[in-house]
């Protein structure tokens, strides 16, 4: 059972990382336009090269 002393902190840390990622996305406004994002992926504008 000693393994738990490592596993529990690790799982909490990884989960916390996800949570921080979510906060960052929220702050950056990535949930402001769900319809737009769903459509933007279908554009062909930047298929060949990344956005300048």
């Amino acid at each position: 059972m000693e393994i738990l002393t490592y596993l529990i902190p690790i799982s909490l840390f990884l989960g916390g990382l996800g949570l921080l990622g979510f906060f960052w996305m929220l702050k950056k406004g990535q949930f402001d336009d769900p319809d737009g994002d769903a459509n933007r992926i279908l554009r062909t504008d930047y298929d060949d090269a990344p956005k300048p």
């Binding site: 059972m1 799982s11 909490l12 929220l26 402001d32 933007r40």
Partner: protein
């Protein structure tokens, strides 16, 4: 006036979404332009608009928001919105300028983000604690169990302190004024569950309810967030309607016309009002003659003649000639704003309305607390064990805590308003659906509501072709609504008229083969005045010909009337217009109860009288003269074309020209009310099963978790059955 500027008095503290910490609207940034793009719908549209704007000189960035159908442009200060509108029109997109100061969500929905953040934290904590709890449920013993409980406590307690704040705040604000709402038992259950579990953990106890406290917080926050989303999207659409009317006026400064924001106009300023535009402020006419359309203020469909020294009010539309006006009241104090403010302050029916959720809370909250108290007393008398009796009392509170009750209403309103939104119906008020389900009487305004407010020529084929063609040829030179109606008739081989001059306020005069021809007011061409909406044509000195017009009925109205009639509603028509015009429309639509020449107060009185005799009224109107009635009615609807104050006063706004969604609206409202009641029933059934276990002391954290999740899911699924 916007919906945002209208803080609804707190009917129930539970319904007040926590206010964001920072002010929503800063002064609009210079060079920051927001345009509404009603026609965009796909990836190609996004690319076309963004590329089309990015290529324009002076533009730094352009970003389309497809969900809101808007584009936000960051540009140099010398780029004007009109310029961009023209540019977008050239590539095939309809665009309208929006006033950024009226859009509270221009910088993102802060309250929504706040709730979402709390929801995410609660979800994260709930899942982790649930995992640890599985170990306990699976039979972890002694030290292992204590370890799990301690880790759970370390996750749960800070999370509760952060995520459950909205409930604590609302619960406290209700308690402070000596009332109980749904948030009081919620807060109490969460707090007691946390405290009792911590105590049990310290005592190496068997049961800790950290997971229950967290899942309660999570599910209830989800309900709260759904509720907020529904209202925020309706509110942002309503604000967009208001923001479309960018308030600017042409001010005369040293003999030059300068475009000035209406808010900056002061008493004594002189402004120019061009034909076809709305008066921005109250004023007195200095020079110019014209006809003005007062339909929005009084419901009259006939334009009135005005000349120098006539006072005018904000909201009237100048029809024919340019007018110079001396401002007599600044925009904030104009008659239009005063009425709008009165409406905002007036105590109206919806503030007195107790929603189903409030009624449920009023029965439920004291009941639960009483039950917990009884459990405590009985167990203490039987066992003389303080810790055991407290544990059982708290278990009762946790088990009965209204997860399902918290979701019962928002899940249904979200489903229903999403459905109505797709049909072009905006629900502005949270309880609008419930109130709409109760109505038995429908009252319509005439001009602009039953009718489109645009006149059409009666029986064009009954006029001599020569007269009609000449009238059309003349009408093409005027912006007057009757002239526009004539000009809209497709005709070929129009006669050539020369020397066309528009005599403001009177009509058009021109020459046809050297002979004088005139089209305009009856009194001007020397014909007897007509009772109907009419314009008169005179060729030379020949007897004048009168063209009569009637208002066009809104599409879908006839079918709607039949449907409303079939559903058994009493239908009334109340208008400020003259008898003949009102009766004509009533006959065409088959409305029995007609009141014409009604002043705004008369409309209000009729509604109040109906309310006193026990009727629940739905008022449908669009003008300033309707705002009192819209506010007083049990529930109110206005078309998107309505004046700003009327839209603010009404609960529901129908976006299209077609009014047929109105009957769907009523059906959906009834279906939604049925689902809400079913949801309350479901929640009650869960409690009836779970409460005996809790009272007898058999409740375990596992049971609480199962009951909570199962009831929440059932309630949400049931909500999607709304039709």
């Amino acid at each position: 006036m916007t919906a945002e500027a209208l803080p609804r008095p707190a009917v129930c503290p539970a319904c007040v979404v926590p206010l964001p910490d920072m002010p929503l609207t800063d002064a609009p940034v210079e060079g920051h332009i927001i345009l509404s793009l009603p026609t965009i719908h796909c990836a190609a549209c996004i690319s076309a608009v963004e590329r089309g704007l990015a290529d324009a000189p002076g533009i730094r960035t352009a970003r389309v928001n497809l969900s809101l159908k808007r584009v936000t442009v960051d540009a140099d200060p010398d780029v004007t919105p009109d310029h961009l509108v023209v540019r977008l029109a050239a590539i095939g997109y309809e665009a309208h300028e929006l006033d950024p100061s009226l859009l509270s969500d221009a910088r993102g929905d802060i309250t929504g983000k706040n709730l979402l953040m709390r929801l995410a934290v609660a979800g994260f904590a709930m899942m982790n604690v649930m995992l640890l709890s599985v170990a306990v449920w699976a039979g972890a013993e002694a030290a292992t169990r204590d370890l799990m409980h301690w880790i759970s406590a370390m996750i749960a307690l800070p999370t509760i302190a952060f995520s459950a704040q909205p409930f604590f705040k609302n619960g406290w604000s209700a308690l402070r004024v000596g009332r109980l709402n749904m948030d009081v038992p919620i807060s109490l259950a969460i707090l007691l569950a946390g405290a009792m579990s911590l105590f049990e953990t310290m005592q190496s106890g068997e049961h800790a309810y950290f997971d229950a406290a967290l899942s309660l917080t999570f599910f209830l926050l989800a309900g709260r967030y759904l509720d907020h989303r529904t209202r925020a999207s309706a509110r942002s659409a309503a604000q967009e309607l208001a923001a479309l009317e960018v308030p600017r006026a042409l001010k005369m400064v040293d003999g030059v016309e300068v475009l000035t924001p209406v808010a900056e106009l002061a008493v004594g300023d002189v402004i120019v009002v061009k034909p076809g535009t709305r008066m921005p402020v109250d004023g007195l006419i200095l020079t110019g003659e014209s006809e003005i359309d007062r339909a929005f203020l009084t419901g009259e469909s006939l334009p009135a003649y005005v000349g120098p020294d006539t006072p005018t009010s904000a909201g009237e539309i100048n029809l024919t000639g340019p007018l110079t006006i001396k401002v007599t009241a600044p925009s904030k104090e104009s008659a239009l704003h005063r009425i709008a403010d009165l409406v905002a302050l007036a105590e109206n029916s919806r503030n007195k309305y107790t929603s189903l959720a409030d009624r449920a809370a009023a029965i439920y909250a004291p009941g639960v607390h009483l039950l917990a108290a009884i459990a405590f007393v009985v167990w203490f008398v039987i066992s003389q064990d303080l810790r055991l009796s407290l544990n059982i009392a708290i278990a009762v509170l946790i088990i009965t805590c209204p997860c399902a009750l918290g979701l019962a209403v928002p899940a249904v309103t979200t489903a229903a308003s999403g459905r109505l939104y797709r049909k072009g119906v905006l629900l502005k008020n949270a309880t609008a659906l419930e109130r709409l389900a109760e109505i038995d009487t429908v009252i319509f305004d005439k001009t602009g509501t039953l009718t489109l407010g645009t006149p059409t020529l009666n029986q064009p084929e009954s006029y001599a072709t020569r007269d009609l063609k000449l009238a059309i040829a003349l009408a093409r030179h005027s912006a007057h609504p009757l002239a526009q109606a004539l000009a809209a008739l497709a005709q070929t081989n129009l006669p050539d008229v020369t020397d066309v001059t528009e005599v403001p306020g009177r009509g058009i005069e021109a020459k046809l083969n050297g002979e004088r021809v005139r089209l305009g007011r009856a009194s001007w061409v020397g014909a007897p005045p007509s009772q109907q909406t009419a314009t008169t044509l005179q060729i030379g000195e020949a007897p004048p010909v009168s063209f009569t017009f009637s208002d066009q009925i809104r599409p879908g109205m006839t079918a709607l009337m039949a449907e409303l009639d079939q559903m058994g509603f009493d239908i009334h028509l109340i208008t400020g217009d003259a008898d003949a015009a009102a009766q004509d429309i009533a006959d065409r639509l088959g409305i029995q109860n007609v009141t014409a020449n009604a002043l705004p107060e008369d409309k209000l009185n009729i509604i109040n009288k109906l309310a006193q005799s026990g009727h629940k009224t739905l008022m449908v109107g669009d003008g300033l003269n309707d705002t009192g009635a819209l506010t007083a009615a049990h529930v109110s609807i206005s078309p998107a074309s309505a004046i700003d104050a009327a839209r603010v006063a009404s609960d529901i706004v129908i976006l299209g020209r077609d009014f047929s969604p109105l009957s769907d609206c009523i059906k959906t409202a009834r279906s939604a009310r049925a689902r809400i009641k079913e949801n309350f029933g479901l929640a009650a059934v869960y409690n009836m099963i779970a409460v005996p276990f809790a009272l007898l002391g058999f409740a375990t954290p596992l049971m609480a978790a199962l009951a909570m999740s199962a009831s929440s899911i059932t309630v949400t699924l049931n909500a999607w059955r709304v039709r």
